[in-house]
Amino acid sequence: MTTRRAIALACAALLVVAFAWAARSVPRGRPTTRAVAAPSPTAPAPPGRKIKARLFYVSESGMKLTGVERDVAYAENAAEQAREIVAVQLGQVAEPLVSAVPTGTTLRALFLTDNGQAFVDLSREVAAAHPGGTVNELLTVYTIVNVVTANLPAISAVQVLVDGKEVDTLAGHVDLRRPLGKNLGWVQ
C-alpha cells in the first residue's frame, strides 16, 4: 500500500512538473490557455469542394485593404480551414490586385488555442523582405489577422509568428507580442 502511495505521489509530482513545463511553453499573451496544435483532418474533404473566403489586398489608395471573395478548398475543421485560407491569401496575385504580404512569404504552421486564438507562423520573408512603413506594416499584419478572423468566426484573435518565433514587430512598428483582434477599420 505504501509502495502504491509512493508511486501515486511520484506520478502526481511528474504531472505537476509536466504541467508547469507546458504552461511555460505557452506563448505570451494567452496565459490562461493551453496551446493545442490543430489536429489534421480525420476525414478528408471530398475533392473539389469549395467555400467562399474573403481575402484582403491593398486598396487603390494604398492606405487600406480591400476584400475580395475567392474559392478556397473546404476543410473539416477550423484549424485546417484556416491553413487553407491563409495559404491562398499568401499565394501570388496578378494586377490589379496587390498583396500587402511580401512575395515569397509562406505558411509554416498554424494552430489554434481552445479560447479562439490562432497562431500563424510565417516564413522569415514576411519580415526580411518587408519594405517598411507604418501603413505597409499595418496592412501586412491585418491582412493575416483579418483573413483568419473574418472567415472563421470562432477565431477572435491572431498572433503572427515568424520562423517559429514570437517577434516584436515585422518592420519596427506594429506590436506583435500579443494576439491582435479583427480590425475591419483597415478595410475600406
Binding site: 487603390e60 519596427g172 512598428h173 491582435l180
Partner: protein, 512 residues
C-alpha cells in the same frame, strides 16, 4: 661620408636631377592650390602641385621655409637635414628613413623641371618628427600650423525654422568667442590666432531668410549678415567633447501672436544684447511641459523606407528631429531629448525608456510612410490602440505599498511597462487633434490623418505620445517634397505651434 653638400638648386644639383628625370619620366603635373603656412609671424603660401591624384609641395620651398639642408647622395638618394637629424628619400620609393626609422609616403618623390617635389604627407610624417617646433598639417583645409598657433576648425550650420532659425557654430579644439550685434549683422570674434574654416562658411541663403550669409571678416572674425525680417537673437555656448558649440537663435518680427518665449541670453557671452526688441510672443514659458522626447525613427542598419530617388527614412527623421529640437528648445525653453542624434540603431524599448526615465511630458516619434501602392500620400498621426484585455490588464495592475526615503510608506501604482500608454490615451488623442489642425494647410495630409494602431514605440510611453508620419517615401512626388527645406520648415513650425497650443490646454501641473 659619401655625401657632398650642394647649394640648393645649384647647377650641379639641377644637372643630377635632370639626369634622373631622363631615366624616370614623370607625368605632366597640373597647377594646384597653395598650402597656407600659418605661424605667429603670419601666413605664407607654399605652392601645391597636383600630379595624378596626389598633392605635392616643392622640396626647395620647404627648405627655404624651414631652414633645411638638402643633399644629393652619390647612390641617388636625397637627404634632408635639420639640426643634425636626417631624412633619406629615394626616387621611386614610397618609403623614407626619418632619423633611422622607416615611414611610408603615399607617393614617391616626383620631379617637375629642375625641382624635386614631395607629397604633402612628407611634412607630417617625415619633417614634423625631426623639427623642433610643432608642425601640424591639415590637409583638407590646406593649412600648415607652425608652432603654438591656435587655429580651431570651425563649421557653420544654419537650420531655418519658419519665423526663426538656428546657427550652430562648432570650433574644434575649443575656442571661446564674443558675439555682438552691429546693425544688421552679428559679429563673432574668436579667441584664436586664425580660423580653419571653409570660405564662405555658409552658402548664401537668399530670399526671406533671417540669415542671409555668413562670411569671414578677418583671420578670427565671422560676420552674419541678417535678413530684413530679423528681430532679435540669443546666443549660448557650451563645450561638447573637444568642441565649443556656439548656438545663435534668431527670430523674425512676427505678424501673428504666437507664444514663443526666449530664455535670457547666457551671462557668459559678453556683447550679447538683451533681446528687448523681441516680439511679445517671447514670454516666460509655462512649465506644464518641461521635457519633450523626439524619436527619429529607425537608424543604423535599419534604414526604414527607401524612396525611388534614394531618400532614406532614417536620414529624414533625424534631420527633422534636429530641427524640432532647435526650434522648441530655442524658442520655448523646453528641453528636447532625441532618442538618437546620429545614424545608429536604437532598440524600440530603449527609445521609450529615454522618454520614461527622463520623465518627458510628451513623446513624438517621427517616421516616413510606405505603401505597396505608389499613389498613397499625405502626412498622418497615430496614437496607440489597445484592446479591452489590455485596458483590463493595465487597470488590474494594482498598487504596492513601498517604503519612502523620508520614512513611512507610499502606495505606488503598478502598470505593466508595455501598457503604460493606456493612462495617457486621452491626452495623446488631444495632442493628435491639435497637431492635425496645425498641419492642415501647411503640409499635405492623408485622407484619414489620425489613426490608432498597436504601435510598439507608443505603447510603453508613460506620457502623451504620438507617432507622426511626414509623408510617403514610396510616392515619387512626396519623396521630392519631404526632402525639401520648405516642407521640413513648415512641418517643424506646425509641430512647434501644436506644442504651444497643447501646453495651453494643460494646467500648471500638466493636466487638462
Amino acid at each position: 661620408m659619401n655625401a657632398r653638400a650642394v647649394p640648393f638648386l645649384s647647377s650641379t644639383f639641377s644637372l643630377a636631377l635632370a639626369i634622373g628625370l631622363l631615366s624616370q619620366p614623370a607625368p605632366a603635373p597640373a597647377p594646384g592650390p597653395s598650402l597656407t603656412q600659418l605661424s605667429k609671424e603670419g601666413r605664407r603660401p607654399l605652392p601645391i602641385v597636383i600630379i595624378g591624384d596626389q598633392e605635392f609641395v616643392g622640396l626647395d620651398d620647404l627648405a627655404a621655409a624651414f631652414q633645411l639642408a638638402v643633399h644629393e647622395e652619390s647612390f641617388g638618394a636625397l637627404t634632408v637635414s635639420y639640426k643634425g637629424k636626417t631624412i633619406v628619400l629615394t626616387p621611386d620609393q614610397t618609403l623614407a628613413s626619418v632619423s633611422g626609422r622607416l615611414i611610408s609616403l603615399p607617393a614617391p618623390l616626383a620631379r617637375r623641371g629642375t625641382r624635386w617635389l614631395v607629397p604633402l604627407e612628407f611634412i607630417s610624417r617625415a619633417l614634423a618628427p625631426i623639427y623642433d617646433v610643432r608642425l601640424e598639417l591639415r590637409k583638407p583645409s590646406h593649412l600648415l600650423l607652425v608652432g603654438d598657433v591656435r587655429a580651431p576648425y570651425v563649421t557653420v550650420r544654419y537650420d531655418p525654422l519658419g519665423n526663426a532659425g538656428r546657427l550652430t557654430i562648432d570650433a574644434t579644439p575649443r575656442a571661446t568667442s564674443t558675439v555682438s550685434q552691429e546693425g544688421e549683422r552679428i559679429t563673432i570674434k574668436f579667441d584664436a590666432d586664425a580660423l580653419d574654416i571653409a570660405n564662405p562658411p555658409l552658402a548664401p541663403q537668399g530670399g526671406q531668410s533671417l540669415v542671409q550669409t555668413v562670411r569671414v571678416a578677418d583671420a578670427t572674425t565671422l560676420v552674419v549678415d541678417l535678413g530684413p525680417r530679423f528681430a532679435g537673437f540669443k546666443a549660448a555656448a557650451q563645450p561638447v567633447d573637444t568642441t565649443m558649440r556656439l548656438v545663435i537663435d534668431v527670430v523674425a518680427a512676427q505678424t501673428e501672436t504666437t507664444p514663443a518665449p526666449a530664455p535670457a541670453p547666457p551671462p557668459d557671452l559678453p556683447g550679447t544684447p538683451a533681446p528687448a526688441e523681441l516680439p511679445p510672443a517671447l514670454n516666460p514659458p509655462a512649465f506644464a511641459i518641461r521635457t519633450i522626447t523626439v524619436d527619429p525613427g529607425h537608424g543604423g542598419d535599419d534604414e526604414g523606407v527607401k524612396g525611388a530617388a534614394g531618400a532614406k527614412e532614417k536620414d529624414l527623421t533625424l534631420s527633422v528631429a534636429r530641427r524640432m529640437k532647435a526650434a522648441i528648445e530655442g524658442r520655448l525653453g523646453i528641453r528636447v531629448l532625441l532618442t538618437r542624434d546620429d545614424d545608429r540603431n536604437v532598440p524600440i524599448d530603449e527609445r521609450t525608456a529615454i522618454a520614461n526615465n527622463n520623465k518627458a511630458d510628451l513623446f513624438i516619434s517621427l517616421h516616413l510612410n510606405g505603401s505597396m501602392r505608389r499613389s498613397a500620400s499625405g502626412a498622418s498621426i497615430f496614437c496607440a490602440a489597445f484592446d479591452d484585455d489590455a485596458h483590463a490588464a493595465a487597470a488590474s495592475g494594482g498598487a504596492e505599498r513601498l517604503p519612502t526615503f523620508g520614512g513611512g510608506l507610499r502606495d505606488i501604482e503598478l502598470v505593466p511597462w508595455d501598457l503604460a500608454q493606456t493612462r495617457h490615451i486621452a491626452q495623446s488623442d488631444a495632442f493628435a487633434a491639435i497637431l492635425e489642425q496645425q498641419l492642415h494647410g501647411r503640409v499635405p495630409l492623408a485622407e484619414m490623418p489620425i489613426g490608432h494602431a498597436p504601435l510598439r514605440v507608443l505603447e510603453s510611453s508613460n506620457m502623451p505620445a504620438v507617432l507622426v508620419e511626414l509623408g510617403y517615401l514610396t510616392n515619387t512626388d512626396q519623396e521630392k517634397l519631404v526632402t525639401g527645406d520648405g516642407f521640413q520648415s513648415a512641418f517643424v513650425q506646425a509641430i512647434y505651434d501644436a506644442v504651444v497650443r497643447f501646453r495651453e490646454t494643460l494646467g500648471p501641473g500638466g493636466t487638462p
